[in-house]
């Protein structure tokens, strides 16, 4: 199970705007193994979504551009292949679901037509077979009256149902990797529970690896095997999910966990992180988290620490752990 499927190495994505260059992703290294669910956690602006768009090569229409690093999918650097080859991978081998399912579905086409088209394009099925497969996919994601749904338009569906359709579409070609960008954020709690359950089922029944991008630590705890925490365009901590919650090392991770009110805990005060996320125009020189860090030392303002391995497979980017351990090769 530890065969790497996706290997992102030192990815750098910059945005070239009117007011200068914004460094959205700053040297991110993430590996997703076959069949594994990796959570990418962070707050808005940490670069988690840009990372996923970089993988899908969906930045063309934005001022964004990958300026460094490599993204190897099944040992092939997808940053170097042609757009035609990429289209073959997109939707076929790597599928993506987005936060807002309404915007990802074309409002003027029927559900069935959109699904069939995706299936015919990628699996080269004939019309009849694609139709059958589409219905089977809708049933698989737990949608009732699948046959009727094929003839309905996206606006006739509720948010939860639309997200199921999106998942059906993404899973239709049995992708090797599913990138889910905040898949349940726009949904109600009870509907979120349904979608998470569905994703867990799919994970068990298929070989698909999932890269789950979210800000919700609860979702991470329920879904993921391994977690990558991002802050200001960099990975600050990476470990398995149990260790992350039991023994978080980076002060940001600790603060994030402390910030979440926990059901039944009845805390008087939350252990919040002071201050705000730095904007791209006032990025600190040293450690990006230093201005908000309780443990910040003088050298934290000068040195931007490397990501180092503190224990087995537990990576942390923090000077508090720097001296004790050897640096990890990047």
């Amino acid at each position: 199970m530890t065969e790497p499927l996706l290997k992102i190495t030192d990815l750098k994505t910059h945005f070239f705007g009117d007011d200068g260059v914004v460094i959205a992703v700053d040297g991110v290294t993430i590996t997703v193994n076959k069949g594994e669910t990796v959570g990418i956690v962070g707050e808005s602006g940490c670069g988690k979504s840009v990372t996923s768009l970089s993988i899908m090569r969906l930045l063309q229409d934005t001022p964004g551009q990958v300026v460094g690093g490599s993204i190897e999918f099944e040992n092939k650097n997808i940053l170097e292949i042609s757009e035609k080859e990429m289209r073959g991978i997109r939707g076929n081998d790597i599928a993506m679901i987005f936060q807002e399912p309404m915007t990802s579905l074309n409002p003027v086409y029927k559900i069935g037509k959109q699904l069939e088209e995706a299936i015919r394009l990628h699996l080269k099925y004939d019309k009849k077979r694609a139709h059958k497969h589409a219905i089977r996919m809708l049933e698989l994601v737990g949608l009732p009256r699948a046959k009727q749904l094929m003839n309905e338009f996206p606006y006739q569906l509720s948010g939860g149902m639309r997200q199921r359709v999106m998942i059906a579409m993404a899973m239709a070609c049995s992708p090797k990797l599913l990138i889910a960008d905040e898949p349940t954020t726009a949904l109600d709690v009870t509907i979120q529970a349904q979608i998470l359950e569905l994703m867990q089922e799919l994970r068990e029944t298929s070989e698909t690896a999932i890269m789950l991008i979210t800000h919700d630590l609860g979702v991470v705890a329920e879904m993921c095997d391994r977690v990558v925490v991002m802050y200001a365009g960099k990975v600050v901590e990476e470990t398995d999910v149990i260790t992350l919650f039991e023994d978080p090392k980076h002060p940001y991770t600790k603060g994030l966990i402390g910030s979440v009110p926990k059901l039944g805990e009845n805390a008087e005060e939350l252990d919040s992180i002071p201050g705000n996320v730095p904007t791209p125009y006032n990025m600190p020189n040293g450690c990006k988290f230093a201005p908000r860090c309780k443990f910040a030392m003088e050298k934290c303002w000068e040195i931007d620490p490397n990501l180092i391995e503190t224990e087995n497979d537990h990576l942390v980017r923090c000077l508090l752990f720097q001296n004790k351990q050897v640096e990890v090769e990047l």
Binding site: S272, P274, G275, P278, N282
Partner: protein, 299 residues
């Protein structure tokens, strides 16, 4: 977390010395890039200067006939030639700038004031008031502009003041509509709801929150309409419904030269050129302002 901790950490963003970004600065940054509009703006400012000091810089008097020099072509002495009474056309164009600009600016301004008021109450209160105001506007819109103005002058009688009133009335519905649509969208914003929740009365909401939100569209639209207003006023004068003969109003000057189009085309060409360049400048400025202020409105 204590209050002190919150305070100290807030300095990560924005310290007092940081250069402030005001809406005006933001506008200037965008407007600076519109070269054509910038040039037009400079031209209009110069034109306004000419209009203000007008006759003082004109090489000749405006109204004094000089029968020795009738219908002379352009020369170094008379840059744009002379008209049927031997008056220097260049001087008359300079003198007429004041009239044309005055008519254009005042009529659009009056139309904007009334139209904005109607648009604000129509958009804010809605319901029957909105229906009445908008139906009246629809009726006014159904007339071709110039016909409407002629109709109004037919009632009020010819003359420059009446041209101003006619063009102003003709501008009211356009402003009412544009202001109404922004008023409706601002009315439904959360910050207006927040102001209501504080206990603000309607007049305050309209004046302090909705009106400032429509100002940028109004400014853009005023600039765009001035060109048309100058053109309409000139047309009316050309038809003899506006400024009367001795007046150097540009439309009246065109009218004065129309009998000599074949023999002395310069009598019509130069005032025509003045109208053309001025209207163009206002329209280009309007386009530039639109792109910088309010990309939503399109003519």
């Amino acid at each position: 977390m204590s209050q002190a901790a919150e305070l100290t950490t807030d300095q990560t963003l924005s310290s007092p010395e940081v250069k402030k970004s005001t809406p005006l600065r933001g506008f200037w940054r965008k407007f600076r890039k519109q070269r054509l509009a910038l040039v037009s703006g400079v031209f209009i400012v110069l034109l306004l200067g000419v209009a203000a000091i007008g006759p003082a810089i004109a090489p000749y008097t405006i109204d004094q006939p000089d029968y020795a020099n009738v219908l002379q072509g352009p020369s170094l002495e008379h840059l744009a030639g002379t008209d049927t009474y031997g008056r220097d056309i260049f001087s008359r164009i300079i003198g007429g700038a004041r009239i044309s600009l005055f008519v254009g600016l005042l009529s659009v301004f009056l139309g904007a004031v009334v139209g904005t008021f109607l648009g604000l109450i129509s958009g804010f209160y809605g319901k029957w008031l909105d229906s009445i105001i908008m139906r009246i506007c629809d009726v006014l819109f159904a007339f071709p502009g110039i016909l409407l103005a002629i109709g109004i002058i037919a009632i009020l009688g010819p003359g420059l003041e009446n041209v101003i009133i006619a063009v102003a009335i003709f501008n009211i519905p356009s402003f009412a509509r544009i202001v109404r649509s922004s008023a409706i969208s601002i009315k439904s914003t959360v910050y207006v709801e927040a102001t209501k929740s504080i206990g603000a009365v309607n007049a305050r909401i309209i004046w302090k929150h909705i009106f400032p939100g429509t100002v940028s569209s109004i400014i853009v639209y005023i600039t765009m309409r001035i060109g048309t207003a100058i053109l309409t006023a000139a047309s009316l004068s050309f038809l003899g419904l506006g400024a009367q003969p001795p007046s150097p109003e540009w439309g009246a000057m065109l009218s004065n030269g129309r009998d000599y189009l074949n023999t002395a085309p310069h009598v019509t060409i130069f005032p025509g050129l003045a109208i053309f360049i001025t209207v163009l400048a206002f329209n280009l400025l309007g386009d530039g302002l639109r792109d910088a202020l309010d990309p939503k409105i399109k003519e």
